[in-house]
């Protein structure tokens, strides 16, 4: 099988992220592979181990996108492609999906393209479905269980109501959720391979596409308003009255 995993690099989830003068800073927190994408690489590796084939990881970004790629290589990916081009900064998900779809087409003969369910920086979770759409492939998203038989891939999708079992003929896009199972750590052999790997860099010209135009703009990114730590004590004449007031206040906070 020819398998691809699309990965992204993000600031560590424990990072303290703030905006200063309109720019996002995450201090000295390390850049890591998007945690959801680790599940994608794991699923891809398991599929490869079971059915044979190769795993190529693709990442779109600048030169510093290498951490995520190296991690995936150290986990066991066979090779990697970094798509870097000055025209690629600040793209929206539709544009990223175009770039990824072009890369998957250029690689050619891909059976499955794996994604994490979303990236923990933008929290969008659109790219897997959008890439599938551009490729005109079925999108089996939010997969918790994956099996392949002949040319058919079947997944259990984690949806609000439980699990939806869906199958489709390959090629297909599959996005992963945590329920799939813990991703493996890099092996030492993988670490050596990754450290020595020369990752080919593809430009948009290599992909044969012009720079996509982003239609989404984000004019302002702000820190959330600082929290009012003054505790409001809810009182009332009965537990029911207190509970009713409290429930309304909680609902008004829009956290449910």
């Amino acid at each position: 099988m020819k398998i691809v995993a699309c990965i992204k690099q993000v600031p560590d989830s424990a990072a303290k992220v703030v905006v200063e003068n309109g720019r996002v800073f995450w201090g000295d927190a390390p850049l890591v592979i998007n945690p959801w994408d680790e599940f994608a690489v794991e699923a891809a590796l398991q599929l490869k181990e079971k059915h044979g084939g190769t795993l190529t990881v693709i990442s779109v970004g600048g030169e510093n996108e290498k951490e995520a790629i190296k991690h995936a290589l150290a986990m066991g990916a066979d090779d990697a492609i970094l798509i870097a081009d000055p025209a690629l900064s600040g793209l929206d998900t539709q544009s990223i999906a175009q770039v990824l779809a072009s890369a998957i087409q250029k690689i050619g003969g891909v059976d499955v393209a794996f994604f994490g369910r979303q990236a923990i920086d933008s929290d969008s979770g659109l790219t897997p479905a959008q890439t599938a759409r551009l490729l005109n492939w079925p999108a089996l998203t939010l997969a918790a269980v994956i099996s392949v038989e002949a040319d058919t891939i079947k997944v259990d999708r984690a949806i609000e109501e439980g699990r939806q079992v869906v199958s489709a003929k390959m090629p297909a896009v599959v996005s992963l959720v945590k329920d799939y199972g813990e991703p493996r750590y890099p092996s030492f052999m993988g670490i050596r391979k990754a450290a020595r790997a020369e990752v080919p860099v593809w430009s948009l010209a290599n992909l044969g596409i012009s720079a996509p135009t982003s239609v989404i703009a984000w004019p302002e990114i702000t820190n959330p308003p600082s929290r009012n730590v003054v505790c409001e004590i809810i009182t009332g004449s009965s537990p029911e009255e207190i509970a009713a007031t409290l429930a309304d206040k909680i609902l008004a906070e829009k956290v449910l």
Partner: protein, 340 residues
Amino acid sequence: MKTWVYIDHFKGQAMPASWEALGAGKNLGTVTAVIFGQNVEALAKEAFENGADEVLLADDVTLADYRAEAFSSSLSKLAAAASPDAIFLPTTTRGREIAAMAAIDLKTGVMVDVTAIEVQGDSIVVTRPIYAGKLLSKETCSTRPQIVTLRGRAFPKPATQAGRTSTLTKVSPAMSEADIKSKVEGYTTAEAGVSLIDASVIVSGGRGVSNNPALTPPGGLDEKQTEIWRAQQGFALVKELASVLGAAVGASRAAVDAGYVTYSHQVGQTGKVVSPDLYIANGISGAIQHLAGMRTSKVIVAVNKDTDAPIFKVARYGVVGDLFQILPALTAAFKQRLGK
């Protein structure tokens, strides 16, 4: 502004956030509800009662089960013909995906999981949390339709008008069964229980949950067994509220050490460090190590009988009182408000 709202449902049961999206659309002008499924005409009636000016209904066997490509194709085909200014969807697993694919078909963009919407000129500007809520981003979309998915419970549910009705237009799906690449083979239910780390809502109990004086333990238990029995009754109340809120159950170290619940539930420096949107602490005094594990929660609610409990220092809302009375009342209040 002409807004379409996709009504997300599972087997004919609408997700409440669909109606919230309908209400948000209505605020901007006329609103059309778009409903796909099989034998879902009842949803059209609900849509009218929630304020839809028009309903587009595709009721077809190919739409019996949700499939991304079939649903999104139908939406984009209809929208391409009618050119709405905006399409709203609830941020559900289906809503997010339909939005994503329709945006590709319609050569436009998606603003996902938004918590606020304003109109500037003829353009929608949204606010949405990014970096797990550590930052807020304003976003806008230069093309039409502007596709937006709305975070559940971020927008008010519209007032319903019983018997209200309007134009129902039946439409056909965009794809025939032969064109749809995926097959739904069935459903299974997920295992119960939400993990602490992933939870956006956590309901926690501390040592205070074992102190219900109103209970008479069964005979034949020694002192420790009696304490555990009391704690189990207390944690049952915690779990009940958690289940209504779709929340994970947490515990203080004191509760774990006393053997009330297992270590996997422990929140705190020595347990799990969590940062949910809502953290409800019941009978937890708020030792510093517990606070270290949950103080970054967005909204903290504390129920404790001790006015001086340190937990109130980090709480947004506090109730000084008997948790054995407050907790069941709170569960009932949420049940009613969330329609469960």
